[in-house]
């Protein structure tokens, strides 16, 4: 049997749930019977598709099945049934959230919430929270990339993006963290320029490590980017040296 992305599976189950509701409006039909046939149909249609089955591929098959309300005059749209309305808008929504949170949505949501808390409380509380969220998010992206798809991806990418930004900032501004500030900005430029030349050379020699450290935001990073950073550092260094020597 083909593997499906979690989003595609959830989407299909939600769609089948809506079909069952629609069909339930016609007493001459058995919703389970129809759902069983539809399940076999969709799987057979997707048989020739590449794995894993995505929401896009699934949508094309569901489109070819048509709108359940048009299958029979006796089939009503769920919105035409008051109990169905409650089922669709309240019970189903709550159940879908529970299923997501209980399944592979739980961790992305937790990571996103931790990131949201870490931003305003950045310091003794926020920094460890962000570090934890970043570490778990990276593990997720590296070792279970098939779970980081669709809308879920952005929940995992939030701590990753913030963490990668902080990490890049800490590396690039490393000399400033010790000094407590330099007396004038040209000295700061000189120190930063020297540091960036060094970091750029190291990054150009080991672009793979940079890509790994900033995954997945630096997947296209290569030696030329490291050399560019060195050049910028050198420009800072030269400009600051000229100014400092002239005084």
């Amino acid at each position: 049997m083909k593997t499906w992305t979690p989003d595609a599976s959830n989407h299909f189950e939600a769609w089948l749930g809506r079909v069952r509701l629609s069909v339930a409006g016609d007493p001459s039909l058995d919703p389970d019977d129809i759902a069983q046939d539809l399940r076999a149909h969709v799987h057979a249609e997707l048989e020739a598709m590449p794995e894993p089955v995505t929401v896009g591929a699934l949508e094309r098959v569901l489109d070819s099945l048509g709108n359940p309300c048009q299958w029979s005059d006796a089939i009503k749209a769920p919105s035409e049934l008051s109990s169905a309305w409650f089922q669709r808008n309240v019970t189903d929504v709550v159940t879908a959230w529970q299923q997501r949170l209980g399944g592979d949505w739980g961790l992305p949501v937790l990571l996103f919430v931790l990131t949201l808390i870490a931003i305003p409380t950045f310091g003794w509380i926020g920094a460890p929270l962000l570090l934890f969220a970043y570490f778990v998010a990276r593990s997720h992206v590296t070792y279970a990339p098939q779970l980081v798809v669709g809308r879920k991806k952005w929940l995992v990418y939030a701590p990753l993006g913030l963490g990668a930004g902080v990490l890049a900032g800490l590396v690039l501004g490393f000399p400033l963290t010790f000094s407590g500030g330099y007396p004038n900005r040209f000295e700061t430029m000189w120190i930063l320029g020297s540091w960036w030349v060094l970091v750029g050379i190291l990054a150009a020699r080991e672009p793979k490590r940079v890509r790994a450290a900033l995954k997945p935001f630096a997947d296209t990073f290569d030696a030329s980017h490291g050399r560019l950073l060195s050049l910028v550092g050198a420009a800072f260094l030269i400009a600051a040296s000229v100014v400092l020597l002239s005084h």
Binding site: M1, K2, V19, V23, D26, S28, L29, D30, D33, I34, Q36, D37, L38, R39, A40, H41, H43, A44, E45, E47, S64, L65, G66, N67, P68, Q70, W71, S72, D73, I75
Partner: protein, 113 residues
């Protein structure tokens, strides 16, 4: 709903029974047979409520079999009552088509005059 859509819906039950005549097929097989004929289906899903209704009416029976490629498949075959109903429906259809053809040719002749 357009006249064509209503006509298709009315004819589809007959088409499903004819596709099943003498065969044992699961839903998707029936859909594939009907797809080969233009203008029969509005959406592939239309077939499934019809199968469910035919089963409830005792015109077809279903048996579930495991599939190596996916979920279990429900195979349909016609019952004796289904075969009798199909004969009656095909006769009724033929009679309807003949009557319409007679009316059409009369109207064509009138138009030509």
């Amino acid at each position: 709903m357009s006249w064509t859509t209503q006509l298709r819906k009315g004819a589809l039950e007959l088409a499903v029974l004819n596709a099943l005549n003498g065969d044992r097929l699961y839903g998707y097989d029936i859909v594939r047979i009907l797809r080969r004929h233009d203008g029969l289906m509005i959406g592939d899903g239309t077939v499934y409520p019809i199968l469910s209704r035919l089963k409830a009416d005792g015109l077809v029976r279903a048996t579930i079999e495991d599939s190596p490629d996916g979920p279990p498949r429900k195979y349909y075959e016609m019952t004796r009552a289904g075969r009798e109903a199909l004969t009656e429906m095909n006769d009724a259809w033929q009679s309807l088509v003949s009557s319409i053809d007679v009316l059409r040719s009369a109207s064509d002749k009138a138009g030509a005059r």
